[in-house]
């Protein structure tokens, strides 16, 4: 088997609520390789969003490990090579993971251009002119360069989500996380967002996508995870999952959604 760069290694990830009464994540173990387009499917309440949000610690896991860039980011501190305790700088790790939300979460008090350049300029200290140039390039890619001075409220849902994607790309992340990016969209706008994501996948971006779009999972994903009740029940290529599902829960789920 060819050796591939693992970007994120997730081991026995757990998230408990109410002292373990509710297990939102139950010992999830998975490796994410460079260039993977990993699609996470499953019924609602299965823990797929919790899993995704744990990856950049918007949810704090209660057990297990997430090794990202060689550091276990679930722990508050770690020992470096000199044996010194170092506090984890979560903000630094989050810069390397772009995230796209179901409800877009654009900043309503800022124009599209300001939305895009605020993080690079304020966090990465990129010169404003440079950031603006880059933002225009990205806006051109998603066909929205003429809306740079508009406010988010003036855009449609599909346009907002495309902006949210390129806003995350402004930070030049190593991984992109998508949390049900098309679930809040009108049906006719789903395609334009999926097209942008597909284009990203073709360029070799590592992506983890939580979605209900089975067509996207089959067509664009190279690995599919099926989750239910907080457990990772089955994983494999889209062909494995959709043509030869093994687990009865997966068979049941697919019979409902396909």
């Amino acid at each position: 088997m060819e050796t591939r760069d693992k970007i994120i290694q997730v081991t026995d990830l757990e998230k408990h609520y109410n002292f373990g009464a509710i297990k939102a994540l139950d010992k999830v173990t998975v490796d994410i390789d460079k260039g993977d387009v990993m699609v996470v499917i499953g019924p609602s309440g299965s823990g797929k969003s919790t899993f995704l949000r744990s990856l950049n610690l918007l949810e704090e896991p209660t057990g297990g490990a997430i090794i990202f860039d060689g550091v276990d980011i679930t722990k508050k501190k770690y020992k470096d090579e000199n044996g010194k305790w170092v506090k984890i700088n979560m903000d630094l790790h989050r810069q390397k993971m772009g995230m796209v939300f179901q409800h877009f979460n654009l900043f309503p008090h800022k124009t599209i251009m300001e939305n895009m350049i605020i993080a690079p300029v304020k966090v990465k200290k990129v010169p404003e002119e440079e950031a603006k140039k880059k933002a225009l390039e990205l806006l051109k890619r998603v066909g929205l360069e003429d809306r740079a001075d508009a406010y988010p409220i003036q855009l449609s849902g599909g346009q907002k989500q495309r902006i949210a994607i390129v806003r995350a790309l402004m930070m030049e992340p190593e991984v992109m996380l998508f949390d049900e990016p098309t679930s809040a969209l009108d049906p006719e706008m789903v395609g334009e967002v999926l097209d942008v994501m597909k284009q990203l996948a073709d360029e070799g971006m590592t992506m983890v996508v939580v979605t209900h779009e089975m067509g996207f999972a089959r067509e664009v994903g190279n690995r599919v995870l099926f989750m239910a009740d907080g457990k990772l029940l089955e994983q494999g290529t889209p062909e494995d999952i959709f043509e030869k599902p093994q687990h009865p829960r997966l068979q049941e789920f697919l019979s409902k959604v396909l």
Binding site: K75, D91, F101, N105, L106, F107, H109, K122
Partner: protein
């Protein structure tokens, strides 16, 4: 029986008009300084209430550094001294009468503990009475403004913070560039409203001898034994200060909300 108000009594107030004019100046200055102090105090207090200062956080971690789920250590790890102090301050100030607070500040703090230089500025404002009044009212409105700010900040959708943090912004950057600009727009009407409340509440400082509008009423009463008419004059003055102010606020509120619509 005499009628309730005797018109000729208003004529007898004329020699004291200077007192009322001074009273208006004092009241307005009291309110402005109070809001300034209250605003600064409220920013500090609300930052304390929402701070993530957990000096005992390590008690909640297990050997590997994971957050533990239960136990005495977890309870202790959630202890936030800054938040506790700010919350206690706000709750005490909000649950006691202003008149008591003013008296305690004037007779207690500045009467016994700290000695103020006694001089007059503007020719008629006694500093050693004006200053404790401002401090007491400022401390009081700081508590109320703190609650206004906190609710304004917490009314911002949590998705905004999540988006900002996922872009790599830290707590301070998130607050400064994303949350506060939106929150301040939401709470400006409430802050302006608090200003109107302070104009009215400042009347309480006449009990410690600040020469505001109410103390002008008292002075006139003492000199002429007329009560109702000076009170009516004071009512008219307070109304003329507060009503236009609240109308002005409503006007700006409408103008600001216009930007929210398409």
């Amino acid at each position: 029986m005499d009628s309730f108000v005797q018109l000729e009594n208003f004529g007898r107030l004329a020699p004291y008009s200077q007192l009322f004019i001074q009273g208006i100046i004092v009241t307005v200055m009291l309110s402005v300084f109070t809001v300034a102090i209250g605003f600064v105090l409220a920013i500090i207090l609300s930052a304390m209430r929402m701070s993530d200062c957990y000096p005992l956080a390590f008690l909640g971690l297990d050997k590997e550094g994971h957050q533990r789920e239960k136990g005495f250590g977890v309870t202790l790890s959630k202890f936030n001294p800054l938040s506790l102090i700010a919350t206690a301050y706000v709750e005490i100030l909000r649950s006691t009468p202003v008149i008591v607070q003013v008296a305690i500040i004037y007779y207690g703090v500045f009467g016994a503990l700290i000695e103020l230089p006694s001089f007059t500025f503007f020719g008629f404002i006694k500093f050693e009475r004006f200053f404790p009044g401002v401090v007491a009212l400022g401390m009081n409105s700081g508590a109320y403004l703190c609650e206004i700010m906190r609710s304004g900040i917490q009314s911002i959708d949590s998705g905004q913070s999540e988006a900002a943090r996922s872009l790599g912004m830290n707590w301070v950057q998130n607050m400064r560039y994303i949350i506060l600009p939106q929150a301040i727009k939401n709470i400006l009407p409430a802050i302006a409203n608090e200003f109107v409340v302070i104009i009215k509440e400042s009347a309480i400082t006449y009990t410690i001898g600040v020469q505001d509008i109410m103390s002008a009423v008292n002075a006139v009463r003492g000199a002429t034994f007329i009560i109702i008419e000076p009170l009516l004059v004071a009512t008219a003055i307070y109304f003329c200060l507060c009503f236009p102010a609240s109308k002005l606020i409503a006007h700006f509120e409408r103008r600001m909300s216009r930007g929210d619509k398409r």
